[in-house]
Amino acid sequence: MSIKVENARKQFGDFVALDDVSLEVRDGSLTALLGPSGSGKSTLLRVIAGLEAPDAGRVLISGEDMTQVPVQNRNVGFCFQHYAAFKHMTVRDNVAFGLQIRKRPKEEIAERVHELLELVQLEGWVDRYPSQLSGGQRQRMALARALAVEPKVLLLDEPFGALDARVRMELRQWLRRLHDEVHVTTIFVTHDQEEAMDVAEQIVVMNEGAVEQAGRPTDLYDHPATEFVMSFVGTANRIGSLLVRPHDVQLAHVPSSTSEEAMIDRIVRLGFEVRVEMTLGDGNPLIAQLTRSQVDELELADGQIVYVLPSRARVFDENGSEPRTEELALA
């Protein structure tokens, strides 16, 4: 089911959480809402779910205006960062909850619960309580619970935010596979750009209650519309008025007419990739991402003075939020 948000506005006291936000999500897609905390991404998700009513604007799910429909009738699956497990119920009862509310026959519920627990790989845990599960297991249970009612859309609010790095990585890939299997339109909120790039087909970058840019991960990375997107999706260095990706920084031992001087503070060898941390003449930090062989060839060392030349750079106009950008291929 497609999701459409039109000019949503939401204010909490003086704080504008959503400032005229519009959004479109294709049927069956997997979309990430990406932004720093306080950017309004969670509020937007809650508005779509019906957990929050927008002050203005509309929410449409498969073309139907849902703005006035209470959360109970929207048929959305919602997962929370801290799982929101019903801690007084077993895994089975947690997953069965939505179906019990819908007064489905007992055999059907039992069958469906079994199916779902298989899907989330918790078959052996039916009679356990949430307190006996790990964080990752709890979140998978919460997903099964949300999927039990066959929701039209699945909304995940920082679903992996409370998990440690390794489990987070596993669950990411698992979510990808799950989405391939279940094909329910999914939106998840994250502040982790790597997670968004890894999992989502579409990323919506939010900042200060507004959508900065929406598009495919590679488009956002290669053609950021604003300075914010450029520095939030991937990393970016500032060299004068230019914004340069670390892998677009070229180093040389001899100056050229357009190069900048920089001093190497530290060389961090991360296996194949080497990160060179430098300080520019104007005092700004600069990070270059080189390969091992490049570093060896240049014979770089801490404390050296090198000359920096970006191979690709972007210039955004002054307030950094207008979509007029220039791409410069310099080298």
Partner: protein
């Protein structure tokens, strides 16, 4: 959160990392000694006094019609009071936690008033209000069983509220939102999500209210009128027995009261442990 707790529980004890008061033996001895002095010794003394005339005298004292009537009134009115407290205490705690209204802090501090007021003063206040010559002068409250229940309600008001309030504050609001997103209406959410999570706190508050009701004296002695077979509760009966020099009989009834309270607390403990087994 609880995963961390499990991990901590499983970790081997690391001596020297925890503050000890001169080793476990001394600490335990102190605690046991203090509790014995303050609780066990008086209880034992009462039990001993009650049995001074032998088991027969004990039984006679306890089964005296006036004593039985007083015990019956005490237990029944306590149960009524607990039932009312469970409903209204939970409701008040709910309003104090979930609703925003001007003067909420004032109302919140008002809840503790029955704790702060000496119970005899509470009795005086109730009499001044409901007594036949009182301000409201409502018939059928002072010197009746209704008056007994009213006085007990007044003094036990804070128990359920104060035990439910913190749990309600801590209650994960997202659980309710998750239930709503799964299609549950507010009443269902309350019944299936909120209430089961509050139940241990409600039960604990109810137990305290019950124990307090069974032993209440000060607030009842004025408003109830202490009419034997009518409005005389056990604590007042015991007082009367002591005044007329029947210490043994007073002690015997005391033991029964004590047994009821302890039995109730034991039951509640059992219930609470069963409910808490899977909590958090």
């Amino acid at each position: 959160m609880s995963q961390g707790a499990v991990a901590t529980a499983k970790a081997p004890p690391r001596p020297g990392h925890r503050l000890g008061l001169g080793g476990p033996g001394l600490t335990r001895g102190l605690v046991v000694g203090y509790l014995s002095l303050m609780v066990l010794l008086p209880v034992a003394a009462v039990a001993a006094t009650s049995l001074e005339g032998g088991i027969g005298a004990f039984w006679d004292a306890v089964s005296a019609p006036q004593a039985v009537a007083a015990l019956k009134l005490t237990v029944i009115s306590s149960l009524i009071v607990v039932a009312i407290n469970v409903v209204f205490g939970t409701a008040i705690a709910w309003v104090l936690v979930r609703d925003q209204f001007p003067g909420k802090r004032f109302v919140n501090s008002l809840v503790d008033l029955p704790f702060a007021l000496p119970t005899i003063v509470a009795g005086l206040v109730l009499l001044a209000l409901y007594g036949e010559t009182g301000i409201l002068g409502i018939e059928g409250i002072s010197f009746t069983r209704v008056g007994v229940v009213m006085a007990l309600l007044f003094v036990t008001l804070p128990f359920v509220i104060r035990s439910v309030q913190p749990v309600l504050l801590e209650l994960d609001a997202e659980m309710e939102e998750a239930a709503a997103s799964l299609g549950a209406r507010p009443l269902t959410i309350f019944r299936r999500i909120v209430l089961p999570n509050l139940a241990p706190a409600i039960v604990a508050g109810a137990a305290l209210a019950f124990a307090r009701s069974v032993g209440e004296f000060g607030s009842l002695v004025l408003i109830s009128g202490n009419i034997p077979f009518e409005t005389e509760v056990s604590s007042v009966y015991i007082f009367g027995q002591i005044e007329s020099g029947n210490t043994e009989s007073a002690a015997a009834v005391s033991v029964v009261l004590l047994a009821i309270s302890v039995g109730m607390l034991f039951l509640i403990n059992l219930l609470g442990r069963r409910m808490l087994r899977h909590g958090s």
